[in-house]
Amino acid sequence: MNLFLLPYDVFILLKYALQLSLSASNLLDRDITSKSDPMVVLFAKKRDGKLEEVGRTEVILNNLNPTWIQKITISYQFEVVQPLVFQIYDVDTSYHNKPVKSLKLEDQDFLGEASCVLSEIVTRHNHTLTIQLQNRNGHGILRKLGALTVHAEETIASRTAVEITLRCYQLANKDLFSLSDPFLRISRMVEGGGYVPICKTEVVNNNLNPVWRPLCLSMQQFGSKENPLVIECFDFNSSGNHVLIGKLQKSVADLETLHREKNGANFVIQTSHGHEKVLKGQLFVDLFLEKEQYSFLDYVSSGFELNFMVAVDFTASNGNPRNPDSLHYIDPSGQLNSYQQAIMEVGQVIQFYDSDRRFPAWGFGGKTPAGTISHCFNLNGSASFEVEGVEGIMAAYASALHNISLSGPTLFGPVINTAAQIAGQSLSNNNSKYFVLLIITDGVITDMQETKDALVRASDLPLSILIVGVGGADFTQMEILDADNGQRLQSSTGRMATRDIVQFVPMREVNSGQISVVQALLEELPGQFLTYFRSRDIKPHARHVC
């Protein structure tokens, strides 16, 4: 797969539907005359601690070592921690002929409960996890309650993709002194009737019969082959006000038909009177290829890892940590400051994908006890730059606040270069680690060109950089690094970034969803991970793909 054939800012929605198969062993025997008749109910634990039912298996009669046939479907989201609670009930004989959905759990006998996090299941070999059953709420184990085994499988949709080559004929001219510069945007219909863009082609200059480079769409992006997609053709304007040339609605199945029959589909446009006018311009599908590609979970369960690294801003603009107004103030009541929040929210998700849970942690812009200002010092103050677990990062951060005096200026170059060095050197040992550097900062950087140089050099490595801006500074300049406007970063030596590896978000952006602003940063990680490995034709370790 050619990396550069992708539009630079392709949207990839990666929500996997997983099916969980369950079995149990040595369940408690509750019935007097026969064995228990167990059924499993799966709950998702919400942020407020409440349990929300996800699904149930069927009831298996008279069996303390059941293997349920009914699978439970759950949607896997990389960017959130998904705590799950499995509860097993012994269903009373009087309910045996009732539909499982109608059974009231309070009328059944409780056999045991098991908790885990969804990412724990998918990162194992063969996506299988066995958990010991406990009493409700984990309150001690009065007697042996047995064990539950959960196996997760992706649905077919996760691996199917289509590669299509689109071409247009006789598009309308929207430019004054030359011809239109067309590009296509494909959107998919979502619940509620709205449309969400799923990909864009590149812009072909000055051409009313353009041929675009092949597009690769995964089934996760388009939903199903029958799902209606809207394809809009725009005339590119450097101002950003692209003019709509026309649009049409086709599903992936329709595009396949167009390809097979070698037919064109006409674009339409809304007239000022409100009805649709059929245009002369047509869309053709020159190539249509269905293929299987490995998913993020295939890689992760076969031993590929995400390695988490953190860098914390110790510049003076944060304010004296003893002062409650400081961004570094550690609240004795336990409320987390912005730095702690960002570390927790990102670290808690990624830690499951890192096998040894040893995380490099640095500070920058501070004066070390030795008296020198460093732009990349070990957060735990010792010779080792790694700490254990997210708790280790939090402890190193708290102790650094006592030992480091805030200074400045804000430079990212040294930290990015160090992270890049680690990522580059790991390639000598193996090809299956992907690094994620989280930089938390309160200010705008003063070494923009050096940072761009470091980012360009790092863009060809297995590394993604997440930058969180805390506090009230104006971060507009930082958004240049994010390259979401499609402008590739350029180094001072004329080299361009290979991929967009940076994401920046200011923490104070208002969010009303269930995912926090910081976790929204994580949504694009699986896509960046896949782009890196797929472009080099690196496949999951064969032995472990199920």
Partner: protein, 180 residues
Amino acid sequence: MDKQCRTVEVTVLSAENLRLDRKSVKKNTYVVVRADPLNSRSTTADFEGGSSPSWNEKLTLDMPFQTRFISLEVKCRTGSGDRVIGTASLPVSDILGDYTPESHLHFLSYRLRDARGGRNGIINVSVRVKMPVESVCPPATKNPVGYGCSSSWQQPTLGVPVGHRKNYYGGVVTGVPVWI
């Protein structure tokens, strides 16, 4: 006498936003890759690609030890002869002597500049250095004598121990020393 110690595979992938005489290029673009003043390789021409052509063509070149840049030249076959659209220089330090192992496949992109030094698009390539041929190259730690274009030029020993992998910073660079 020239002894090439390395071969390099340059896969010329694609280019973007090429312009000639202030207009978008229409067709017939090709790329000339040069690692040595005397040798070059070219891709075939992309007949249809317009201002954003793609070639996906792998070119194998010999790269003398002292090469500092690989030049990439995008040209266009027009009715009045072959014209240079833009050139870029790929520093060898971008493929050797950085943190990656020698055989790493690098995906690289460079800004193209036209004859007047103005920006003219971007070129995308992937590059892999092939391991040096044993019979021609001396082991890294010995002092090679008489290699390179000019017989009076000698490559000094840099004395860097190879193989010390696990160091994160303040450590030693791994890989074969290159005189840059």
